[in-house]
């Protein structure tokens, strides 16, 4: 079920470009349009490319579906953990903003080049959402792709009930 050599070669090249672009959208979520969800969806589109150009067997050799589902729930856990960390003040409190540490520089006011090292908990939350969306959408794509290989329901499967 592999596509032609030309398609596979181009995919192998594009795959990394798609990944890098997706990570760019995720990591610049607090500065430019986009963010965790959009970036995660772009990263997950690399899964679609991989699945179509190569085969499902090749895909499952490289990725385990355990990896994808760990990425999904890990992303969610990371998100809600960051929200919980702010509970000294309130749930979702942005305790990292303007604290001077990582992502903690004060935000420059007015027109500027955009400082990546700002916005406190927003970038980590974007990364968490990106991870979750990548894992979730990739799993959906994988299961839809695997579904194409299923045989249509036979009479025997209907006897299975109750």
């Amino acid at each position: 079920m592999r596509m032609s050599k030309i398609v596979r070669t181009i995919t192998a090249l594009l795959f990394w470009a798609v990944l890098v672009f997706g990570f760019y959208i995720v990591i610049h979520g607090h500065l430019t349009p986009g963010g965790g969800f959009q970036g995660g969806a772009v990263i997950a589109s690399s899964t679609a490319l991989f699945l179509i150009a190569f085969s499902k067997d090749e895909f499952l050799r490289k990725y385990k579906d355990v990896f994808l589902s760990v990425a999904e729930s890990g992303g969610l856990l990371l998100f809600i953990s960051i929200a919980f960390l702010g509970i000294g003040a309130t749930f979702f409190y942005n305790f990292m903003a303007n604290s001077g540490g990582i992502f903690g520089s004060p935000t420059p006011i007015g027109i500027n080049d955009g400082d990546l090292n700002t916005a406190g908990t927003l970038p980590p939350m974007n990364i968490a959402v990106g991870l979750e969306v990548f894992g979730g959408l990739s799993l959906i794509l994988l299961f839809m792709f695997l579904g194409a290989y299923l045989k249509p329901f036979s009479k025997e499967s209907e006897v299975h009930e109750e």
Binding site: V66, S69, V70, E72, S73, G74, L76, L77, I80, S81, A83, F84, G86, I87, A89, T90, F91, F92, Y93, N94, S157, E158, H160, E161, E162
Partner: protein, 519 residues
């Protein structure tokens, strides 16, 4: 303590996200079940504490991401810009009822789903459903309400399809999904109308500036119809019997409470968002008509059913009618302080008390139906018989639930129905008489189940079946205890939790001023 409103929602959410990982690393044999029950127990205890706090200190707000949980208006702002939870007597009451049902259903699931596959996904969805329900009941932000409504719709559609190998489950789930998305879209359009007009999403902020012009009327119509659709009021009930009958019994017991969260949304919109600015008599009568239709059509449809869970599902529609009737009467006389005081508030208390009673006894009845199905393998009343010989505890629980739903003293259904009859009679005697007739028909159809499933000689094919397993008995026992306790001490319950809930609904001014400051 001031973090309680968020903790009761966030802890089950955290556990829901952690369950897939716990499942991957192994954990014990009952790790998933353990953390699920633990987090729901935490929620229940948190809700009880929160209820006490609300009773002592009035409505509680919790602002996400602010420097202080009570900082509703950031410096220099006239409107609240952050998402917040606002918990008054009514929210706390609903969330308490939901968290009791959720805990009992989760304990029941341990044995009920022992031999099923995909349990990690089941518990994740179950917890998400609880989170959606509690979130809808605690939130003070209308867009947030929509988000939680979507969470609960998606989770419940997936749970209805849990037995994916049965065609009926898939059909019921697709129906539920279509209806759920449709009603969520209606809510979203209504939110759009309100946001476009008032530039605010907070219930209190919109309510303060409510003008009740055309845009608001459209929003009101969309909200009332979509939330009535979600709580299964006739004529918008077509999805409910399928979904309730096909979901696993523990999920059905929880779905009863989840539908009531939509009912809560309907009341919140009518009382706190629009309140006396709209024509409460008209909207009140619309709610009453929804209620009377649901009561009557639900029970008459139930009488002809042959399948135990489907029959109970039609009764769920019928009982929802009582709540709509009671609170609808209160809404109809909201603009008239004298009538409100003389019977309106009592009707509302009856309707609100019926909400928690219904969540408890209908949950119990669905769980007993699940126990019958678990042991006997069928839900067809024509095939069942003589189960009282083998399943004495389940029979006792069923009797408690059936007596409560039929409104027999000394069970809790009697207390709330009596309050509804007495007060609605003063509003309109015909409505009250219809409610009594429906109650008689309810008794008739439960006598039918009792007689055909439990009584009679022991049938040869059910000779060897045993009593339901321990965890299922415990789950049913919790609900049965609550039913009996509420029935024995109705005055205590009405005084401590029902009365503050009814007063909180009527008292729109303090709901608004808690967020917006002095009026």
């Amino acid at each position: 303590m001031e973090h309680l409103p968020i903790l009761v929602v966030a802890v089950p959410l955290f556990v829901a996200f952690a369950i897939p990982l716990i499942d991957k690393v192994g954990g014990g044999r009952y790790a998933k079940e353990g953390v699920t029950v633990g987090s729901l127990l935490f929620s229940l205890i948190g809700m009880i504490l929160l209820l006490k706090r609300v009773a002592a200190l009035g409505p509680q707000v919790y602002v996400f991401g602010a420097a202080l949980p009570t900082l509703t208006l950031p410096t220099g702002m006239k409107v609240p810009i952050r998402i917040m939870f606002e918990v008054d007597g009514m929210s706390a009451f609903m969330a308490l009822s939901g968290s009791i049902a959720a805990l009992a259903a989760a304990i029941y699931s341990i044995a009920y789903l022992k031999d099923e596959t995909g349990k990690d996904r089941f518990y994740v969805l179950f917890l998400l459903l609880v989170v959606g329900m509690l979130g809808m009941e605690l939130t003070g932000d209308i867009f947030n309400f929509f988000v939680f409504l979507e969470i609960s719709s998606i989770a419940s559609a997936a749970l209805v399809a849990f037995r994916y190998y049965k065609a009926e489950s898939i059909e019921a789930a697709i129906k539920y999904m279509v209806v759920g998305s449709l009603s969520a879209l209606f809510v979203l359009i209504a939110v759009g109308f309100l946001y476009g007009k008032y530039d605010a999403l907070n219930f209190a902020a919109i309510a303060k500036r409510m003008e009740f012009s055309w845009a608001d009327k459209i929003a009101l119509a969309l909200l009332v119809v979509s939330l009535a659709l979600k709580c299964g009021a006739v004529p918008l009930h077509m999805w409910l019997p399928d979904a309730y009958a096909e979901a696993p019994a523990s999920v059905t017991a929880l779905l009863v409470s989840v539908s009531q969260a939509s009912l809560y949304g309907l009341f919140r919109v009518c009382f706190s968002l629009f309140g006396v600015k709209m024509s409460t008599l008209t909207v009140g009568w619309i709610v009453i008509i929804f209620g009377v239709l649901s009561m009557f059509i639900g029970v008459t449809m139930a009488l002809v059913q042959k399948e135990i869970k489907r029959l109970m599902a039609f009764h769920a529609i019928s009982q929802t009618g009582y709540m709509l009737l009671g609170v609808g009467v209160g809404l109809a006389v909201l603009g008239n302080p004298f009538d409100l005081k003389s019977y309106g508030l009592m009707a509302m208390k009856g309707g609100i008390f019926h909400i928690i009673n219904h969540a408890m006894y209908k949950g119990l009845l669905f769980l007993t139906a699940g126990a019958v199905f678990y042991r006997a393998g069928t839900r067809d009343l024509n095939k069942l018989g003589g189960l009282a010989h083998n399943m004495p505890w389940t029979t006792v629980y069923f009797i408690i639930g059936a007596a409560a739903i039929a409104g027999l003293p000394p069970f809790n259904g009697f207390a709330s129905k009596l309050m509804i009859y007495e007060s609605v009679y003063k509003f309109n005697p015909i409505l009250s008489i219809m409610a009594m007739i429906v109650s008689v028909l309810t008794l008739a159809s439960f006598v039918k189940i009792f007689q055909s499933a439990f009584l009679g000689p022991q049938l040869p094919e059910y000779k060897d079946i045993k009593e339901a397993p321990m965890s299922m008995l415990v789950g049913m026992g919790i609900l049965a205890f609550v039913v009996v306790f509420f029935g024995l001490f109705p005055e205590l319950i009405v005084r401590t939790i029902v009365d503050p809930a009814a007063k909180a609904l009527v008292d729109q001014a303090s709901y608004i001023s808690k967020v917006m400051g002095g009026m």
